[in-house]
Symmetry: C2
């Protein structure tokens, strides 16, 4: 009975892990270290990038590129992170928190004001790159492929990843300029239309035709989700806030309500095929500061105000907005530290997906550069629809393809319609659009600021 | 080429997930919903428990018990959460953040002052339950088993899980009373000695003898880790803080340094076989507010001070400490929101591990109650060593076995030394010690407060 197994020493770390982790807990241990490394090095790289005049997010992306390609120099240390599902989930939480923050800092009314313009930009931003890719540049640069392959290339060029642009606008405190609102609105439109185009192209590849009812259902679901979640959310939120504040008026309740709503809508968006970040953005839009008035005056106001002497009349009124802004009590500020922790994980992991090997074949690289040019031009054309509100900013804001473009390409690869060299070309396009955009946006924003 | 695969519609959610998640991304979607449910219901249950006079943590634990046992009523909905590695990792992060917070709120000097007393309590808290379990109550209540089985039972009774007690002390704002410090110090000693006893018992089971050099190595590693990380950390932290503040004096850098240190030490503790939370606690101890003085005066001070009129002399000096306390700039307060998010996940998941089926067999339940009594008495005996500093509080503070006891039992089961009924008895003991302690501690603390 005594000597049945062999693993007492190997079991020792098991004894240290929490309940659910009893199996395979060494991965958990390692992930703690990876998170520490990503967190700390992102914080070190970001200011270094900023000193060189680049946006912080470029520092995080390049850090990811470096870590993800150390294997070229024989260092395999970081290869497991890039594929680890736990780190991937933390990264996903990161970009969800980022879009929640962006949503909280955007007033719905402002977004509705730019609605028609955002719709035009979003629609043109899908149509222009799709047409250019599928019917012009695809057949020209990659001759001899199936027509479906060009359609898929076009669909991939139509994708937009709003995380990177949102981050740049937010870091520079420019979320409130009209161009930022147009980009955000257009990105939502883009995600819905991108989903439609992916479904249409997939259906063409599989059964050779498009079912109008299926496409209508996708559009109906997406519109119902967006309009429904924001409309119903705004009806419920004031009442639920009052009710929750009665139960516990502390900051943790406030915070839980906002974050749980974001996670739920992210899940719902994901469930109907949209990007989870679209759900998180919707959650941010539905909470307005007014709904949260039932939560207590923060402790800081209650402690400071009695100290203000009668000899300084009106001082309390002057101080209160500043105290509120900084008190860490407002939901925006409570979510900030969660962002500090998770958001860099998303961008570093995004950088780690960049495989520098792809750039080694000159022929592929040449075609990749051509496709990248088309990818940029297609979105810059869409930006023209923004009119005076910063057409270059809006156009460049739509350029990064990020994870969305790559996932489109993966679907094409799975369907057997996209071959290895076309996939590599798309990876190059995704890398370049993702890395070029942050410095270009920063430059454009700084020039406007002067 | 066109109709090779079948999964375009099933692929649609894939198109929505982030890079690394392209495979199996539906789990990610579901986990977002689980986190939202846990976060929100923990926030609802905690104030309900508090209204009934129970500590918040009991609300979270009981919520977990309910969710984890819905399958008894045919609802299988939550069975996947309890086993999901991603949720388990988030829970682990939760208890790491909790112990980091507790460490940050504990001054090392205060802990050293109670050192000898904490050592006596920790050592007695290992010896008393071990002797009672292995040599007295084990052979009496569970007759006819191998001697090694009783040794393992004793080891399991010796374990302490400090997370629950730390949470209760923290929630009631009592981390600074001597009893809390003794419990925290004793828990560290307990974890080291528990590791030694597990190694000794495992070695006895496997090879029939104990290697003195192996045991010495375990002790040396643990002592080296604890003393080394805190001592070296306190040497480095002032310099690294100055250097980091020069790079970026904002709050995100401060926060990253503290959190990354906690994650790294948690990993290191785990790697040498200690509980990760011991590493996180050490990280909390090594940062003192003084080290962080190089980080900027928070924005709030810079905005408020110019507004204070000359007619209110001395007001600025009076306001500054309050502003600093609440500004969300201090590292303790920046970590708070991370705690709000993650800590409930740990306690809900802990509750979900409770299998109410175990309580169904009256014979097992009877023995379980007996062993639970011994588990409580063994730690209350240890509490006597705390002397006047609240011996009952300290004793009860050591009572919860939580995840540590369960993991000890799992090692025993793997080694083949512990049979199913003994395992069930231990599960009952873990359930009861974990659920009874929070209300008892709350009662004892309230009585002292009066």
């Amino acid at each position: 009975m005594a000597d049945t197994t062999d693993a007492a020493c190997a079991d020792r770390p098991v004894a240290a892990a929490a309940f659910g982790l009893a199996a395979g807990s060494d991965v958990v241990g390692e992930n703690l270290l990876w998170l520490a490394i990503i967190l700390m090095s992102a914080r070190l790289f970001a200011p270094l990038a900023q000193r060189l005049g680049f946006p912080a997010v470029l520092g995080e992306l390049l850090l990811g590129v470096v870590l993800g390609n150390l294997s070229l120099f024989g260092v395999q240390l970081f290869d497991t992170i890039a594929k680890d599902p736990i780190i991937a989930f933390i990264a996903e939480l990161g970009v969800i928190v980022l879009l929640l923050q962006i949503g909280l800092e955007t007033r719905l009314a402002d977004l509705i004001k730019v609605g028609p313009r955002a719709f035009a930009v979003g629609a043109l931003g899908i149509v222009a790159p799709f047409v250019l890719g599928a019917f012009v540049v695809g057949p020209w640069l990659l001759p001899g492929l199936n027509a479906n392959a060009y359609l898929f290339l076009g669909a991939t060029l139509a994708a937009t990843s709003v995380g990177i642009t949102g981050r740049v606008f937010r870091d520079l405190g420019k979320l409130n300029i009209p161009a930022a609102r147009i980009v955000l609105g257009a990105a939502v439109i883009d995600d819905v239309l991108g989903l439609v185009i992916l479904a249409v192209v997939s259906s063409l590849v599989k059964v050779g035709s498009v079912s109008v009812s299926e496409v209508s259902w996708i559009i109906a679901q997406a519109v119902l989700f967006l309009a429904g979640s924001i409309w119903i959310g705004r009806l419920i939120a004031p009442h639920s806030s009052r009710w929750l504040a009665r139960l516990d008026a502390g900051p943790s309740m406030l915070f839980a309500q906002v974050l749980a709503t974001a996670l739920t809508l992210a899940w719902l968006a994901h469930a109907i095929g949209l990007a989870p970040i679209i759900g998180a953005f919707a959650a941010g839009l539905l909470f307005e500061p007014l709904f949260l008035k039932d939560f207590n005056q923060p402790q800081i106001v209650r402690e400071i105000e009695p100290l203000i002497p009668a000899s300084a009349p009106g001082l309390a009124d002057k101080l209160r907005p500043i105290l509120l802004k900084h008190s860490g009590h407002q939901h925006e500020h409570m979510i900030e530290p969660i962002g500090y922790f998770f958001v860099p994980v998303f961008f570093v992991l995004t950088g780690m997906q960049v495989d520098l090997n792809t750039l080694a074949d000159p022929a592929v690289l040449g075609v990749g550069l051509g496709i990248t040019a088309v990818a940029v031009i297609g979105k810059l054309v869409a930006g023209l629809a923004a009119g005076d509100s910063g057409k270059w900013l809006v156009g460049w804001g739509m350029v990064p393809r990020g994870e969305v473009g790559l996932i489109f390409a993966m679907v094409g690869k799975k369907l057997g319609v996209m071959n290895e060299s076309m996939f590599s070309v798309i990876v190059i396009m995704v890398i370049l659009t993702t890395l070029i955009t942050p410095p270009v946006l920063t430059m454009l924003l700084r020039r406007r600021g002067e």
